[in-house]
Symmetry: C2
Subunit: 398 residues, 2 copies
């Protein structure tokens, strides 16, 4: 698929040296031609990074000119110096395109507890501002500049027909491969669109898309200090605000882009060999379905069983059982890759070898859990847990 | 240390063949000379095994004659046949010592979802009844007969002075090495004593000891279907019920035995190379301290960092931050093996090499987190997470 920046935006990604001993890109800028509308959704961790505080205070807004992103340093647990540094990053990035500090948002990801190397950041911002472009390479470089332990850069894009012969474009960039728990994680996302939106609509469309996407993924359940998803709307595609059915179609497009980006994170999870899609149905309310999905997704025993191509339904059913949700175990049905493994409180006779083969031979493992308690459901994504995950995380800093 | 059975009990452990392809012990019996008082604490998983249902319906009691335990099969998710099988196990074990089915409790641990091999169980009960003894070897064999993936059998014992020149003995057996979450796990414990207790006191002493011990451990946070801790009191040490200060001294003894057994479980955690002791202080209430301790203990990122001897305080502080407890990050202080790593929202300069060496060279890693919110605290135990854990759990059944 070819990707492009929606009208009204330019982007760049450069290597400036926040990441040491490598030439990988580590600083990105996304710049709007003129003031755009922006919404944001942030980590729920009580220990949050300085850039989260900066952005949260400035969204929703209709006066945003751009975003500066660095990888390699999270600017988290850095005290008042960290707050000063994020303000300086915003000021320097804004100045490079003739804007004010308050018009720039900042995203940081990487190691916690080290002060931002402001010298190399300043040089990086100058270098990025020099090469801002609106071609595909500039967009891909911006996505690469966000990456930490990601193996792949992450982009998703849709064009939405909003009626009257008009279309709007939605293009998303994201990063994340570990420390991914629901309620966000070391996960950054930027959704760009040329749609014209009100501040309130930008915020509510983003919030509801994130609820079904970035908040429904986990790698190991660890909610990070830095998670942020931003939506920036340039308005270049139209002179009129989206509303009614047009707004609903747009919202569905944002949801699709967010889900595609969100799934790509556990799919690229550290050491992962399987993306696990967990579909929960038949609960009394969405919150119940969410709690059960999260309990199954975060179970190291479920994740290691899938890694071992073991259709170990007992681990799945028991993980649902400790989610602190009332349900009748006799009414539960469990399918793995479409094969019924469990119903009426007892295992079902099934071909273990064939189900095991289906796990082994497919990148995606599908777990369907049905309850007889109501009509609510949810879909959640995680990855398997491997020895490579342990190796990566035991050796991260040393 | 030498262990012995408290007065009034005999025990045995045999191999009968529930565990296939091995000669490891897999069936144990603990028998009281006459009716004894018993309390029980059980898994909070909504999907619970047949023996849990059987025992829960029969405790507290003053009419218990014994416990039969098998490893290798959990009798969980086995439907009505499983309920029939646990009743038969109780009946056969009780008959072997001249008691009624309702006077026997049953503990099972092992694979979920397979029917109990009742032929070999019957033979095992007969063999165990034949070799019941009150020597140390019989006690150790009973502890071994509970083991699944444990590397070591687990025993703890104290003698408590209850005044007036009298002592009572408390001896505990336990098993567990994985699927260990707080609120119990594939963890079985039996605490035996010759103290004389009322039913109510037996239950409340056990419940409060479990709250500070078996409910404060985790290996990977997975709460199993089978967890059970029983307290059996023969009353042989005295003719009078323990009460007042004597009862308090006894309760403290049970707590000590439970903590020692509980710690031995993550210390023997699958693939573990470190026991991690997490001490949380300065919260408004015990529940807040518990939530934070559990969040840190269950973090795969914390557990892999300790495995890598990495004093990665950022992972610890951020795990506390997503525990859904209100606190001021500026007031947090973190010590690792006694060295201050973090306070006032910022890292502290410390000797990373020396702290890393202290992790690498000690079996126990001590994490102290202090909050400025109040007077409540808790101690919690977990283990590090290693590639060996992944290997064991990816290959458990296949």
């Amino acid at each position: 698929m070819e990707f492009s920046l929606p009208a009204g935006f330019s982007a760049a990604g450069v290597h400036c040296g926040v990441k040491k001993g490598t030439t990988k890109l580590d600083l990105s800028m996304i710049v709007a031609d003129s003031a755009c509308v922006a919404g944001g959704v942030y980590t729920q961790n009580r220990v949050f990074a300085a850039p989260v505080g900066w952005d949260r205070a400035r969204t929703p807004s209709s006066q945003i000119r751009g975003v500066v992103v660095n990888s390699g340093n999270a600017n988290a647990c850095t005290g008042s110096q960290g707050e000063q540094d994020v303000a300086d990053m915003a000021r320097i990035a804004a100045a490079s395109v003739g804007a004010d500090a308050d018009e720039f948002l900042v995203l940081s990801t990487g190691v916690i507890g080290e002060l931002m190397p402001m010298n190399v950041i300043s040089q990086g911002i100058a270098a990025a501002a020099d090469v801002l472009g609106n071609d595909e390479t500039s967009l891909i470089n911006a996505a690469k500049g966000m990456m930490t332990t990601d193996n792949h850069h992450k982009l998703a894009q849709v064009t939405v027909d909003v009626g009257g012969g008009r279309t709007v474009q939605i293009t998303g960039l994201a990063k994340g491969a570990a420390m991914i728990g629901p309620n966000m994680a070391t996960m950054l996302g930027v959704i760009l669109t040329d749609a014209k939106l009100s501040e309130n609509d930008a915020q509510s469309v983003l919030s509801s898309a994130v609820a079904d996407s970035f908040n429904c993924i986990s790698v190991e359940g660890h909610t990070s200090t830095n998670d942020t998803v931003l939506l920036l709307a340039s308005g270049n595609a139209s002179t009129q605000l989206l509303q009614g059915a047009q707004l609903a179609a747009f919202a569905e497009g944002v949801r699709q882009v967010c889900i595609e980006l969100a799934k790509s994170i556990p799919n690229d999870g550290e050491g992962a060999t399987h993306l696990i899609e967990i579909r929960i149905q038949g609960l009394a309310c969405r919150e119940d379905a969410y709690l059960i999905a999260k309990s199954v997704a975060d179970s190291a025993l479920v994740k290691t069983a899938i890694h071992g191509a073991d259709p170990n339904w007992g681990r799945i059913v028991s993980a649902a059982g400790y989610a602190d949700v009332e349900f009748d175990p006799q009414a539960v049905r469990l399918f793995l890759n479409g094969t019924l493994l469990y119903e009426q409180g007892t295992p079902v006779v099934f071909d273990e070898v064939s189900v095991s083969d289906s796990i082994r031979n497919q990148r995606v493992t599908e777990i369907d859990l049905e309850f007889g308690e109501g009509e609510a459901g949810i879909t959640f994504w995680t990855c398997d847990m491997t020895a490579e995950y342990i190796r990566l995380n035991a050796d991260y800093r040393t």
